[in-house]
Structure formats: structure tokens, C-alpha cells
């Protein structure tokens, strides 16, 4: 049998697994793989400017297309630079395969040039990882890596390939379907859990569907079934940050995002519900607030493909370990089979409508400064009016929360944000990755002036591949969320949260061959946004917004859902040590 080199085996596997794009950066320990990719007819390689950028691009590509993202980096610094993105993908359950070069096997452990213990470093920030010491095992491992990354609770898988393994040859047989000895995620729920969930839902007087990123990870079918379940039961629907878009924001049953910066109605509905159905959500601390005051009078059903998510933070009454789509399908079928009708939830909806009248997302405007919330709302309206497919990514901070609050999402896979790890520098590369996977979509990164600088070098990547991404910076010259917390907790001592020495973003854009637009005040806002949308090619917008506005509503750390702050006058400027010690 003709033998292939490790590098050729790897590339053949990528082709066989349907990989179309690889985000990467060459270096000594991956030169054989780069040579195998040279002028490749089907795999497009996107050359990034920093390996962290490659990982977030792969995440953006994965989350917007539903396909796994693939990263290729060299040993040592190439691998360590990828660690933040790998961790981000683990926390947000993004399917990603990271291929790292490694020094040749005989040099492993000798502190060789550009050697790092990549499997050691990534062991606890990846779903799984491999060091491949034999080219004959490479094909099986690569297929297994894709299987593990994309099934169960998705996540990043690292495959570390020493340089001599890339060059050495072995017989190549295309692997068949993966039969793993121990990894078999439970996809179908046990019947008892489904039965209990359906009966509790039919009997509930104050139900709420609490949905998360797992609905989106489960695929488009899960989103359809969620809509069907909501319609059948008439229940209100809320979502975590990661789940936005799984249920349409334009629906009457939508009560907005919940949690620390969620709506008043969503958090009160969670607090007062008699039944919470958690669907692909994990009771994160940003969602629950103070644990002993979380939904005190409710029974809880938790649907999650990861058993370790169940009873981790909040004890639930019914555990349903399953893929969301499969569980919802079973629930809907049983609901119909039992002949359940939609309950009369009008008393519950009356209370929710009462909370809605608080208009917790409202904000003051003086007409002199652009309120950041207004900028997002206008951006939403203007992009909707284009009729185009719109994908929004964000960095991390106030702008991220304002985007979540004021930009409506009706479809899944259109909202890409770093939820679990909260990685500043995620959004812009994620937009590049999303644009690669969706060339015709209008892809906009909503950024802050501080976050955007964390991976701003990727402007060159967008230029090189003629990707028409837009960066919309809400520029308040602060790390706004840090400043906001300093106002809440440390009597407004702004320790190192002022963005001094900002670049001229317009000139910076022009230096990279982009169009730069500055929006100075409310009178420029509409025209500036329109110009950004209508300008072909990449555009960076420096939108100057009110410097000191804060993100409300807010549940301070350690507070209950019912203790929301609705406006700045409620800030005292000091907190107990117990509250200060929380994140």
C-alpha cells in the first residue's frame, strides 16, 4: 500500500471531514503541514496576525455556520497564544479543532526551541487532547477529535503533532465511523424525565422557559421545537446571553434576557414562577444572582446534554439528560399524546405585563450626547431595514450588554459573544470567522474602545481576504464595565479604567485600507450607520457616546433577582466585603 506522510494524512482527513476553512499561522513545527496545504484546491487557509485571533475566528465560524472551526498553529508560542481561545470555546461549548505543531518526539522534554507542553497546558481548557506519536494513528485520532468536538456538549479538541510525525510516512486507510470505547454522550432522554416534565408543564400556573446556548448548539431543529413548545403551552420565554436568537425577540411571549443585566420582567418572572424549564442553560452565576433567593417557590426541570451541569449550582426536581432537540421532540409528542391543552395563563401574563410597564431597558436622553443604548437601537433598526442576513458579534463589557438588551435577534447563529469566559478581543476575530462562513451576510462587530484594541491587528486579515466586516465602536474612553463596578463598589475611584492614548480609529482604519467613519453626536448617528452599512468592504466606525452612562437594569453581585437596580440613583457606591468578594 502506498504510504502518506503525516502531514498529507492530516490534510486528507480534513478534506474527508468536510473542512473548507482553516485559520492559522505558520511556524517551524508546522512547516510540513503548511507545505501540504500549499495551493490546496478545496481547503482555504486564512492567515491571521496572532494565534488568539485564529481561535476566535474559528469560534465565530463555528457558531455562525454550525460546522466545527479548525485552527492550525505552531508549537510553543503558537500553542500558548491559542490557549485563551481554546478556553473560551470550552466555556461556551463551541466545536473547535486546534492542530498544533510540536517539536520532534526525540526532543520532547528537552526544553527545545519553541517547545511547550501543549497537551499539559491545554488539558484542562480543552474537552480532550492528544499528542500523536505515530503517523499510523493520526487518521484515527483526527476523526475521533472531530467526533468529540462536535457531539455531546461541543467543545475544543487539541491535536498536538510533533514535526517528525508530520514527515514520517504510514499506510493510510480512511477511518470508518468512530466507535469510541468510553465516550458515548446520552442523546435521548429517559422516558420518566420526559413524562414528569410534561405533566409538570401541563399543571403549571406560572411556567417559564429558561433557554440557553444549548438550544443553539443542538441545531436548527431545536430552535423550531422550542417555538412549537412555547406556542403549545403559551409560556413566557427568557434566555441567557448565549441563547439569544433561539426564540424570536419579536414574539409576544419573549420577556427578554435574564440575569445580571436582564430585564425586570424576565428576572421577576423567574423569581415568581412555579415551574422553570431550563433548556440547554446552566444556571450560571450571572443568571442566578443570590442562590438562596433564586426562584424560591418553583419546581425545576433541567434539560442538558451534560450531566455535570445538572445540580451543579441549583438543585432541580427533574433531570433530563439529553440533546435539546431530542428532549423537546419527546416532550411535544407526549404532550399531544396525552391530549394536554394550553392552560389559561392569563393571570400570570397579567403579572408579567405589570412588570413590563417598568420599562427596565429605558434610558435618559438629552439630545446632546449619543446614548450608547440609542446607538444600538438605531443600528438594529437600520440593519433590519436592509433585509439582509445580519450577524452581530461583540467584545466584552458594557457595549456587549447593551447589544444584548437593545438588538433583537429572531434567528439562531446570528449573535456571537463570549459569555462564559468573557474574553475581551473575541468579537472582532469572531466577525472575521463568521464572514468567512457567511460571505453574503452583513457582519458587524459591536465593540468598546478598550476591547477592540485586544485583537485589532486582525484588521490586516480582513483586508487581505477582502472581508467586508464592520466594526462599530461605542467609544466612551473608558473600560466602561470596570468603571461601572468601581462606581458601584469603590466610591468611583477609577483605578486604571480610563482609556488613555486611544488611537485615531478612523486613521487606523485608513492605514489598513479600510473606510473609517467618525460619529460625533446624535445628529450624525443615523447617517453614520447608514454609511457604514452601504460602504462596500471593511468599515470601522468610531461612535462617540456618552462617557459615563451605565448599564441598567443590574442585579449587583450577591443580590437577588428582586433586588434589581433600575437606574443610577440607586447606586450607593459601597458594598459589603461579601458582595465585593463575588465576581
Amino acid at each position: 500500500m502506498a504510504e502518506k506522510s503525516g502531514a498529507d494524512i492530516l490534510v486528507q482527513c480534513l478534506v474527508d471531514l468536510g473542512v473548507e476553512v482553516v485559520f492559522g499561522y505558520p511556524g517551524g513545527a508546522v512547516l510540513p503541514i503548511y507545505d501540504a496545504l500549499y495551493n490546496h484546491p478545496t481547503i482555504k487557509h486564512v492567515l491571521v496576525r496572532h494565534e488568539q485571533g485564529a481561535t476566535h475566528m474559528a469560534e465565530g465560524y463555528a457558531r455562525s455556520t454550525g460546522k466545527p472551526g479548525v485552527v492550525l498553529v505552531t508549537s510553543g508560542p503558537g500553542a500558548t497564544n491559542a490557549v485563551t481561545g481554546i478556553t473560551d470555546a470550552l466555556l461556551d461549548s463551541i466545536p473547535m479543532i486546534v492542530i498544533t505543531g510540536q517539536v520532534p518526539t526525540q526532543l520532547i522534554g528537552t526544553d527545545a526551541f519553541q517547545e511547550a507542553d501543549t497537551v499539559g497546558i491545554t488539558r484542562h481548557c480543552s474537552k480532550h487532547n492528544y499528542l500523536v506519536k505515530d503517523p499510523a494513528k493520526l487518521a484515527g485520532i483526527v476523526h475521533e477529535a472531530f467526533h468529540i468536538a462536535t457531539t455531546g456538549r461541543p467543545g475544543p479538541v487539541v491535536v498536538d503533532i510533533p514535526k517528525n510525525v508530520q514527515i514520517a510516512t504510514a499506510p493510510f486507510i480512511k477511518p470508518g465511523p468512530v466507535q469510541h470505547a468510553s465516550y458515548r454522550p446520552q442523546v435521548k432522554a429517559d422516558a420518566a424525565g420526559i413524562d414528569a416534565a410534561v405533566e409538570m408543564l401541563a399543571a403549571a400556573e406560572r411556567p417559564i422557559l429558561y433557554t440557553g446556548g444549548g438550544v443553539i448548539n443542538s441545531g436548527p431543529r431545536a430552535t423550531e421545537l422550542l417555538r412549537e413548545l412555547a406556542a403549545m403551552t403559551g409560556s413566557p420565554v427568557t434566555s441567557t446571553l448565549m441563547g439569544l436568537g433561539a426564540f424570536p425577540a419579536t414574539s409576544d411571549q419573549w420577556v427578554g434576557m435574564l440575569g445580571m443585566h436582564g430585564t425586570y420582567e424576565a428576572n421577576w418572572a423567574m423569581n415568581q414562577a412555579d415551574l422553570i424549564i431550563a433548556i440547554g442553560a446552566r444556571f450560571d452565576d450571572r443568571v442566578t444572582g443570590r442562590l438562596d433567593a433564586f426562584a424560591p417557590n418553583s419546581r425545576k426541570v433541567h434539560i442538558d446534554i451534560d450531566r455535570s451541569s445538572i445540580n451543579k449550582i441549583i438543585d432541580v426536581d427533574v433531570a433530563v439528560v439529553a440533546d435539546v432537540a431530542s428532549a423537546l421532540e419527546d416532550m411535544i409528542a407526549l404532550w399531544k399524546q396525552r391530549g394536554h391543552e394550553k392552560s389559561d395563563l392569563s393571570a400570570w401574563w397579567d403579572r408579567i405585563d405589570g412588570w413590563r410597564t417598568k420599562k427596565s431597558l429605558s434610558y435618559p436622553e438629552d439630545g446632546k450626547e449619543i446614548m450608547p443604548q440609542r446607538a444600538i437601537a438605531d443600528l438594529y433598526q437600520a440593519t433590519r431595514a436592509t433585509g439582509k442576513d445580519v450577524i452581530i458579534t461583540t467584545e466584552v463589557g458594557q457595549h456587549q450588554m447593551w447589544a444584548a438588551q437593545h438588538f433583537g435577534f429572531d434567528e439562531p447563529n446570528k449573535w456571537l459573544t463570549s459569555g462564559g469566559l468573557g474574553t475581551m478581543g473575541y468579537g472582532f476575530p469572531a466577525a472575521i470567522g463568521a464572514q468567512m462562513g457567511n460571505p453574503d451576510s452583513l457582519t458587524i462587530c459591536i465593540a468598546g474602545d478598550a476591547s477592540i484594541q485586544m485583537n485589532i491587528q486582525e484588521m490586516g486579515t480582513a483586508t487581505q481576504y477582502r472581508l467586508p466586516v464592520k466594526i462599530f465602536i461605542l467609544n466612551n474612553e473608558y473600560m466602561g464595565m470596570v468603571r461601572q463596578w468601581q462606581e458601584l463598589t469603590y466610591e468611583s475611584r477609577y483605578s486604571n479604567s480610563y482609556s488613555d492614548s486611544l488611537p485615531d480609529f478612523v486613521k487606523l482604519g485608513e492605514a489598513y485600507g479600510w473606510t473609517g467613519i467618525r460619529i460625533e453626536g446624535p445628529d450624525d448617528l443615523e447617517a453614520g450607520i447608514r454609511r457604514m452599512i452601504e460602504t462596500p468592504g471593511p468599515v470601522i466606525v468610531d461612535c462617540r457616546v456618552a462617557k459615563l452612562s451605565n448599564c441598567f437594569p443590574m442585579i449587583p453581585s450577591g443580590a437577588a433577582h428582586t433586588d434589581m437596580l433600575l437606574d443610577p440613583r440607586q447606586i450607593e457606591g459601597v458594598m459589603s466585603d461579601e458582595a465585593k468578594a463575588l465576581v
Partner: protein, 171 residues
């Protein structure tokens, strides 16, 4: 502000795992990363092809934490099965210790007498010392070592606990 701690229970967990490089680091690292306790950990391969290892971990924590430990271990890709022996029913647990004791005269005789009571074997001897081999529960080994300390304990090596469910069925 002071840090609060919850009451802990001792649990013996038995895992079967693929015998591959880095497996022990995955398990041990999971415990440190998530702040769980390891009282003892033993590992050895248990199949003729050396493909599967059994790891026995003695841990402690509040019940909710023990549940999380099991779920987190079970989620590792190369873990085949996790059994909480403490929950699964009656089980046998043993550890082995080598105990070096030095002394002369009456101390030597007393050491031998106690070893006999504990059914410890002498596996090495000089004019002034013994090494005893003792197997039993952690408590039994603790007690033996405590007595030897009064006579002239030099040092101890312990294997940590292994355990199996009683009866004819596997765990």
C-alpha cells in the same frame, strides 16, 4: 469577612479508564482545578492487554460536591465508568503499608507482639530494626502506625486504598 467551609463525608470512588498517557494527570488535575480533595489515589492496569486501568480515589466533600465529582469524572472522554463504592453498597477496602521501626531490647519484642496482633508480616530485619508489611482498612493501618510511633517508628510507605464491591457481580 471569613471563609466558610461545609461538612465533609468520606467517599471511595472506583473508576475504570483507558490506560493512556496523561490519564492520571487528567484525573488529578480535575481535582485541583475544581477544588476537590484527594485523600488517596491508586492506579494500576487491570486487563491482560494493559488497555484499561482501575483508579481508586478516596475523597471527601459535602454530598453535593461528591455528586459533582462523579459527574465531572464521568464526563472525561477516556473514563469508562465511575462507581461510588460508598453509595453502591457493602464493599471491601484495603491498603497496604510498609512500616519501618527501629529499637532494641524490650521495644523489639513489643513491636513483634503488636505486629502479631495486627497480623503484620516482617519483610525485612536487622539487629536494630524491622520493616512490617500490613494490609487492612485505612483505620487499621492508622492504628498500627500510631502504636509503632510510640516504640520507634522510622518511616512509613502506604499504597492508598483499593476497593471492590462485595458479592459476585462486578461494580
Amino acid at each position: 469577612m471569613h471563609i466558610q467551609e461545609e461538612l465533609s463525608q468520606r467517599h471511595v470512588l472506583s473508576l475504570t479508564v483507558s490506560n493512556e498517557a496523561g490519564m492520571l494527570a487528567r484525573i488529578a488535575g480535575l481535582f485541583t482545578a475544581r477544588g476537590y480533595n484527594i485523600d488517596s489515589l491508586t492506579v494500576a492496569d487491570i486487563t491482560p492487554d494493559h488497555g484499561v486501568s482501575r483508579i481508586t480515589i478516596v475523597t471527601n466533600g459535602p454530598p453535593k460536591v461528591i455528586d459533582q465529582i462523579i459527574a465531572q469524572l464521568d464526563r472525561l472522554v477516556s473514563v469508562h465508568k465511575v462507581t461510588d463504592l460508598t453509595e453502591a453498597g457493602p464493599f471491601v477496602e484495603r491498603e497496604l503499608a510498609l512500616v519501618k521501626v527501629a529499637g532494641t531490647g524490650e521495644d523489639r519484642i513489643e513491636a513483634l507482639r503488636l505486629a502479631d496482633v495486627f497480623r503484620a508480616k516482617v519483610v525485612d530485619t536487622t539487629i536494630e530494626s524491622f520493616i512490617f508489611e500490613i494490609t487492612g482498612t485505612t483505620e487499621k493501618v492508622d492504628n498500627f502506625v500510631a502504636l509503632m510511633r510510640q516504640i520507634g517508628l522510622v518511616e512509613v510507605g502506604r499504597t492508598g486504598v483499593v476497593g471492590l464491591i462485595r458479592g459476585k457481580e462486578p461494580v
